[in-house]
């Protein structure tokens, strides 16, 4: 399973879940607004309410591709500007 987020891409479910678990620390509510399915893919629209780094309600769209009942690829889209600082890496944090 590959998850392509706005700031990072995770090549497997474990890597994604590890980061998603951390993200949940700043998420106070996730409200699914609608799920649109077509064949082996689905679009999910949800409102994400966060407490940090800004108190905000952000509309998140996710495009899921499914094979044999399992999500094999997911891509997320939302206005990430309030959250960019969380993922910014100062220049000295390069690793190669």
């Amino acid at each position: 399973m590959v998850f392509a987020g706005l700031f990072e891409t995770y090549p497997n479910a474990d890597a994604y879940i590890a980061t998603f678990t951390q993200l949940l620390q700043i998420v106070t509510r996730l409200e699914i607004k609608t799920i649109i399915g077509e064949g082996d893919q689905a679009a999910i629209f949800m409102e994400m309410v966060t407490s940090a780094p800004v108190e905000a309600t952000t509309l998140v769209a996710e495009w899921h591709q499914v094979r044999n009942g399992r999500i094999v690829h997911a891509r997320s889209a939302f206005d990430g500007r309030p959250f960019a600082a969380m993922f910014a890496r100062p220049q000295e944090h390069t690793h190669g």
Binding site: T9, A15, Q91, H93, T94, H95, G96
Partner: protein
């Protein structure tokens, strides 16, 4: 596209230089202690930093024993996505020339320039490790 290119002479045979970039133990000697490498074409390699706050997920695309390694990035920082690390070794049997290219950057950003500086530093750490044989990775966790 932007390619970052480096080159260092190393007083060691090609086989030792090759081992330093193609094996987990080798990469643990100069780059990061959190290195895993499945040493075959199509195999995966992972390089973790700062307790895996950052992980580069790589795939080995080409291996030519004692001569060349090409890896491509398939997970990690977005700027790294799709970029390739190419190590090429020229040797006269005693001294080697290690040529390195981190290629395929979409644009020359501040982050990219910072990585270029870091690669320069790492090249000399790699050289010291191969010549001296004592592991001393830039990142220890």
């Amino acid at each position: 596209m932007v390619d970052l290119t480096h080159q260092v002479p190393i007083d060691a045979p090609a086989a030792r230089v090759y081992a330093a970039v193609t094996t987990a133990a080798g990469n643990r000697g100069w780059w990061t202690a959190d290195s895993t490498v499945d040493e075959k074409v199509g195999g995966s390699a992972e390089f973790g930093f700062e307790k895996r706050a950052v992980v580069f997920h790589m795939r080995i695309d080409r291996l030519v024993p004692d001569r060349e390694l090409v890896m491509s990035c398939h997970g990690g920082p977005p700027e790294w996505q799709g970029t390739t690390l190419r190590w090429r070794i020229d040797s006269d049997g005693k001294q080697s020339i290690l040529r390195f290219t981190h290629g395929g950057w979409k644009e020359l950003t501040d982050y990219c320039a910072g990585c270029n500086s870091m690669w320069g530093r790492l090249m000399y750490r790699l050289k010291d490790f191969v010549e001296g044989g004592k592991p001393d990775p830039q990142w220890r966790e």
